[in-house]
Symmetry: C2
């Protein structure tokens, strides 16, 4: 793997994780994105969809379709937001609350397993590299002259 580029490693590693999460979720007729969304909704008071995208690192337009599917399968309800007529409040149904617990366990297990098998320092460096990449991209300082 050391002979592969950084982008290759990022891509294939993420795809492996995604595939694993989707395989786990499919045992319960669910998907990875559905699980992530369930985890981002406040199970008590519901969550304005405005908050959901940023929390999940997902654009509103991508989230919208996932929420539609989730509403159709009875995991969530969309209710009007009394504070903003454009916005929507997302609430878990009892069914959604059950699935949420399952998703939480899978995500915790995955992340704890990794952290349990490698030093904290290496995890820190992993985060540092990721931060560097995100920083370079958001500043558009790779292919463009700095123009901000």
């Amino acid at each position: 793997m050391r002979d592969k580029t950084i982008d290759y490693v990022l891509r294939t590693t993420w795809l492996a994780v995604q595939k694993m999460y989707n395989e786990e979720a499919s045992k319960f007729d669910s998907t990875m994105a559905t699980g992530f969304t369930l985890l981002s909704i406040d199970p008590e008071s519901g969550t304005p969809s405005t908050a959901l995208g940023p929390k999940m690192g997902m654009e509103a337009t991508s989230l919208s379709r996932i929420l539609k599917t989730m509403e159709e399968s009875g995991l969530i309800e969309r209710k009007p937001n009394p504070k903003d007529g454009r916005s929507v409040l997302i609430h878990l149904t009892p069914f959604g609350r059950e699935k949420r617990d399952y998703s939480r366990e899978k995500v915790l297990t995955f992340n704890e397993t990794i952290r349990g098998q490698i030093s904290e320092e290496k995890i820190d460096h992993f985060y540092e590299v990721a931060e560097l990449i995100n920083g370079l991209i958001s500043k558009k300082s790779i292919y463009n002259q700095n123009e901000d």
Copy 2:
């Protein structure tokens, strides 16, 4: 970002890179996957499609559709493989060769920029974490009893 899970960081970082590559490619009516594929084809003698998937970390079924699109847009040709009637040899067209040069430069610049701004040790640790994740997933040792 340090308060985010490892899977979150992997996902959002990869999506940022993918988006950046697609934005660059779209300036030339191309896509990231097309660029990656161009880079994996031997510009001299062509490449059997059997070799392409593993090299790119992509399944044959995903590659097939990309090759179809690339053939339609005149970047590659599919020729019969004299050594194996099932297999196909992928050749770059002159047009494909041009685009290949452009892709190579983008990928090199990206990877060199990152390596130029962080210590080799941290990059090594990034690879180690990625290897750990891939290893755990391929051994199915996260959610399953070890059965191999």
